[in-house]
Subunit: 337 residues, 2 copies
DNA sequence: CTGTTAGCGCGTTCAC
DNA sequence: GTGAACGCGCTAACAG
């Protein structure tokens, strides 16, 4: 791998003249520049990134840290971010935490090694400790959730969709279709994500004065299989409901399969509405009604926020909230008793 | 961000003693070590990655360069690779080329900047020019396809699934079920991927002395929507077939939808078998028979190959081929005329 | 317009 | 057992 010194030697100029010619900064005669650029071309010179970084502390990399990659929710986000980053010459360093709080802290700690310029951080569960670690790391950061820490407000941005509203939309949709017995299919109740979505579900019921029944709250693990098992058990247990709000598409799919296998017709005998609106919704029969969480937008905007802090040196906080959008398909039917 | 000099100052030792204490290499008294490690802990010292890299040329990063991320085929691969890399402290730098040959070359060229230690490279179409660029870049590389370049053989490894065999398996499965008029739903005929899969389709037909009909070869673009349009047009055109081999799951899903919307029952009136065996197959009704391409395995093994070249300094070529596996579900039925 | 010099933070070799 | 000194490759301030 050739260095500027190699080019300097070949051309007879000094290393600094070569550096100026290549960077375009500082004076350099047209003749020298031409000679040097040609030599660089021939020698296939590419500057050593580590050397540049050591000098000016710019890595041209953004870390995307997500809980899980096997969920299509996240690759839409990754895709959105990558698209926004590309024109700025930034690449994505991918890291996943598999929902593990320890791993999250570990990753944030490693970030002090300054091997990226900024971070897009996704977690299912923001705890005060996690937020502390994010602030502590001291890099431009966007979290893909809303979390306003008390005290200082300038340390990270939030780009997110209104999670409670998503579940609220889904639940209200069922209510409007005449459903009263609406089950909630969520993940681990301790995770912020499930809690927020549950809030929306609860609020929608309250607004319509429909009593919330604990027995209609099902906990699974955000996977298709887990939802299948949980819903099958729920049905075998004899619980009655006419609609299900599933906290993500994979669980919606698992739920639909469980219902069908149990002998229930979708949507005639049981309606299903999911959250996330990934491609999975278009694979099922009937096609699944779902709430679009605008993951691509979130990824894109999160990336823009990070770039804004890096390139334009923005030093104040910005938040951006997206309102989710219900996409009606064929898995929810009117219910008339 | 504290440096070893800061630690040196606090503890009264010199920077080199601190370096030795932290790295464990070279002599250092237990007392000094204890004092230094404690100070490092308190100051939350993390070594500056760029400085380390500049010194020893190790980045602890592997680039994964893929054509497209919105295809679940690839995230299974990414996942497999990430799992294999994690224990070695390696992270994935993600880059996509969107099927663009220019972008592929551009990425490979940038790699000369030594900002990763190795590369896992996926392309739909390996051309001699691309292979040249891969060799030229001079980094441990695994391509996720089979491509034996004439001449030198030590420049990159191949980890791949036998693509023709996958299509062969799918086609033979249909033949065994009694189908004779089997359509092929592929992508762009110019891409190696489509060509290879078509070869397998062709071979299976030939082996059973079933004539290949050009009119049963449908070209789409590896997307659900594209396949939906292409198959709808195909059906409207009055072409007759009793089974379809789709080159990936997304196209299989689009095809299934097109058939259903056209009034055909799956699998009673038309059978569908796809390739890739992603989660999409489990979302359709009926569940879709598909050929597992072991993408997770490919990603994992590719990562191990790269690590082997980096850590164990392997300097000879290795290839690894996986044989795809047909996973029977409910979208293919017996055909009796 | 160009060359010399110093330093980014770390690791390693060599004296002491 | 420890410190001084140098270099990885690039950039920037300064001098000529």
């Amino acid at each position: 791998m050739p260095t500027i010194y190699d080019i300097a030697e070949k051309t007879g100029y000094s290393a600094s003249t070569v550096a100026r010619a290549l960077s375009g900064k500082g004076y350099c005669s047209p003749r020298a520049k031409a000679v040097i650029l040609e030599a660089a071309e021939i020698m296939a010179y590419v500057p050593h990134q580590a050397a540049k970084t050591l000098k000016n502390n710019i890595t041209n990399k953004i870390m995307m840290c997500i809980p899980d990659i096997m969920n299509p929710y996240y690759f839409e986000m990754i895709h959105g971010a990558a698209m926004a980053l590309e024109p700025f010459g930034y690449s994505i360093l991918l890291e996943y935490t598999m929902h593990s709080p320890e791993k999250e802290l570990e990753v944030l700690d490693s970030l002090k090694g300054h091997f990226v310029d900024g971070v897009i951080f996704g977690s299912f569960d923001y705890t005060p400790g996690l937020i502390e670690a994010i602030k502590d790391m001291g890099l431009p950061t966007v979290i893909t959730s809303y979390y306003q820490s008390p005290g200082s407000f300038n340390d990270y941005d939030c780009v997110y969709v209104d999670q409670p509203r998503a579940a609220w939309l889904a639940t209200r949709h069922c209510l409007e279709k005449g459903h009263k017995k609406i089950a909630f299919l969520g993940g681990d109740a301790r995770e912020q994500n499930t809690r927020e979505r549950f809030e929306g579900y609860k609020r929608a019921l309250e607004e319509q004065l429909v009593p919330l029944s604990k027995s209609l709250v099902i906990h699974a693990d955000f996977t298709r299989e887990g939802a299948y098992r949980a819903v099958t058990e729920f049905l075998q247990h004899g619980e009655e409901c006419t609609a299900v709000v599933a906290c993500n598409d994979l669980m919606g799919v698992g739920c639909m399969k469980a219902c069908v296998d149990f002998g229930l017709k979708v949507p005639e005998e049981i309606s299903i509405v999911a959250l996330d609106n990934t491609e999975y919704c278009l694979c099922t029969t009937p096609a699944m009604t779902s709430v679009d969480m605008l993951q691509g937008q979130v990824g894109q905007e999160a990336a823009s926020f990070v770039i804004d802090r890096i390139v334009n040196k923005r030093n104040f906080q910005k938040n951006m909230a997206f309102s989710p959008v219900l996409v009606e398909r064929d898995s929810v039917a009117h219910w008339t008793t």
